[in-house]
Symmetry: C2
Subunit: 424 residues, 2 copies
């Protein structure tokens, strides 16, 4: 059985995701598509618009065979950390032949060239990076400048740094870097974001971004929102979204946590703020001051943000605080060099078959029933699950329907079992 | 100048309060009425319906001359602690001749009889109390049973314990007990809750309780609520309430803090919950469990409550947690034997004159500009003010209008200055 891996958030699942999923399968001639998916929080440092269970279901109803959760410490991580966690997870399955990722550049050679510099970190590059950082640039901007400086005159490839201007390329480079570091046998394949389907006027409007769909959901009641987004989402994914919204389990937005976050920061000592991931000296005071003068989530973020501190980084810090992810835990997870377990969110029949091969090949525990792993001898397993549960217990407080705000669903929810044969 | 003292919450100010205020003045032939008032949190352990500034203004527009804040550790305290703090504050002014409090029993002798038992705590009474508490009774119920046992056969006054069934009598007894303990020269005067005015059919509906007014505010939009409560509130107090609501600074309800509290308890370690005031062994686990399964404030409280743990006690614990009042701070304030300062919320011209005499007689710092006391050599002053500010910073997050949710108003708000001559 040929297996292709995908890393995704599906926040929510739309036609762009479907295209990527189907292309991944056809380009690699795979029999089985494995998705590593963010849980209830995403790489932008935000709670997802609907739960991981609903998003896994959307994926399984749309062509994925197996959905594995990317633990929250990685899912909310910087591009490097996110990509490393996801690739490590795919690699550890022991069955994945290729991984596909979207990229504004279809040329994998160019991305590889940058990835190997970033993976090797030659001294000259490191010095340049350090200088640009101390000039007050944000990490992404400093990195681009350092790479540009390093490449100048080398290989005649200085213009490669333009690739770093797109977030998909940045993630792609990080995937490649992680594959290099892990010396993985998984073959990377890029899917260009610019294909004929995308340019066709007939389809214009069909490929809306997840961000634009969330924006529509945030300012419209469902009845109106549905009309505006139904052309952008596969019917089955739309039905799952509709069911969740009708049950009062979404849409969840970061702003729903504004009062809790402001209340929390106001009562949290500066020392404790200082010990959050993605924090640096001085930023804890900005957090504290911003919480004092802000009345809403939007105000809070914009009062903290500067050129150096991006909104995404700030959101990661805020939601790390909310879910109880401090730098001690973060460092501990880091020391484990990747996710401690393979946690299954859902599967089709094909996915279930693949699971048997995975169990035979992986060195990590495969978890379908989390409650059995509340205590575990494998380092990090119970700690990562406990954090996942804590994260979910905060997440559900964003639900409109109080009935679903109860905690512990990470230990009670069954794996989503979808008969995929109706789709493929 | 003859001065009478009152202890009140004015949550919100209504005709019952006006009657009490006017009766206090006339019964004692006072020239000046001093009110010790709860700040942003009340004795039921709840955030007040509008801010302390608005409630002080209501009082000053309705006949009070000077409003002094009861620090939050006392204001949210049990009847004993609340009464002790308030009486201690009145006593420390050095200018108060009498204090008036409402009581279902007009007979101060009966209340005094009980107060002296409670103040002296004879061994027999203490043993009885201990037994009833270990039988699982709540403190109020155990105390009533112990008193009843103690009084049986003594003085032929066993039926006095019926007095303990009313919350106003309980507070009255605590005021008397505090006066006894402090050996205060202040003369206690009771105002019977049952006067001709109260029974008059003409006035039926006029004397609504503050609780019923808050209930109306909680289930109606202001336009409707106003019609239902306008007969129960003096016009000027009603106008202040209306202004606050129109500005989006109220009405504030405990349920507005549901998500923040549930979020907070879910992420607070059990050890930390254990160290809250009014906590006892085992209750911290009930808090934790209740937060896991509750989606709203109402569910949270009812999931914690038992016969032994009253709703009021639970609310005190919850909001102590929210504002950061732990048992270490609580014990420290207790060790100071009363409020550390006289913090003025507002005055009329008469009140301002009285303030000069107070400054000459009291041993405590008189605070009209809190910012000057952020650091202070007097024990407890800066700590109590810091807690007050922290409490306010959480309170304002209950405002509908985000503009007013900024923190620090305890250090920026001016004393309310009302020209009382237009009223009296």
């Amino acid at each position: 059985m040929k297996v292709v891996g995908i890393v995704a958030e599906y926040n929510p699942f739309h036609y762009g995701h479907l295209y990527h999923l189907q292309s991944s399968r056809s380009l690699t001639e795979a029999d089985c598509v494995v998705v590593v998916m963010s849980g209830n929080y995403t790489q932008r440092g935000e709670p997802a618009v609907v739960s991981k269970w609903a998003r896994a279901e959307m994926a399984l109803l749309s062509g994925a065979d197996l959905v594995i959760e990317l633990p929250v410490a990685y899912a909310m991580g910087s591009a490097e950390y996110f990509a490393y966690g996801a690739v490590r997870l795919l690699d550890s399955l022991g069955v994945v032949d290729a991984m596909c990722f979207g990229s504004e550049s279809g040329d994998i050679e160019d991305l590889q060239a940058i990835a190997s510099i970033l993976a090797d970190e030659p001294e000259e590059y490191k010095d340049l990076l350090k200088n640009h950082l101390s000039d007050g640039h944000s990490f992404p901007s400093a990195r681009q400048k350092a790479l540009s400086g390093y490449l100048r005159g080398r290989h005649g490839k200085a213009d490669l740094t333009r690739l770093l201007k797109s977030s998909n390329n940045i993630l792609g480079i990080e995937y490649l870097k992680a594959l290099l570091r892990l010396d993985s046998k998984i073959k990377p394949v890029t899917i260009s974001r610019i294909g004929s389907d995308y340019n066709s006027t007939e389809l214009s409007g069909k490929f809306s971004s997840a961000t634009s769909i969330r924006n529509i959901l945030s300012v419209n009641q469902w009845r109106c929102a549905k009309k505006l987004i139904e052309a952008s989402m596969p019917t089955k994914a739309l039905s799952v979204l509709e069911r969740e919204i009708e049950l009062g389990r979404g849409p969840v937005f970061p702003s729903d946590f504004g009062a809790s976050l402001i209340s929390l920061i106001r009562r949290t000592p500066v020392d404790e703020l200082r010990s959050l991931p993605y924090m640096e000296a001085g930023l804890e005071n900005r957090l504290k001051l911003a919480a004092e003068k802000s009345g809403t989530y939007e105000e809070l973020v914009s009062n903290i943000a500067t050129r150096r501190y991006t909104g995404t980084r700030i959101q990661r810090i805020l939601f790390s605080l909310l879910i109880g992810l401090d730098s001690r835990k973060f460092a501990y997870f880091n020391s484990l060099k990747g996710p401690s377990y393979i946690r299954i969110l859902g599967f089709t029949q094909t996915g279930r078959q693949l699971l048997s091969s995975i169990r035979g090949k992986t060195g990590l525990p495969v978890i379908t029933k989390t409650a059995d792993f509340k205590t575990s001898d494998t380092p990090g397993v119970s700690e990562m699950l406990a954090l996942e549960n804590a994260a979910t217990n905060q997440y559900v407080l964003g639900y409109e329907n109080p009935y679903y705000r109860t905690s512990g669903s990470d230990f009670t929810q069954n794996v989503i079992n979808v008969d995929g044969s109706t789709i493929k």
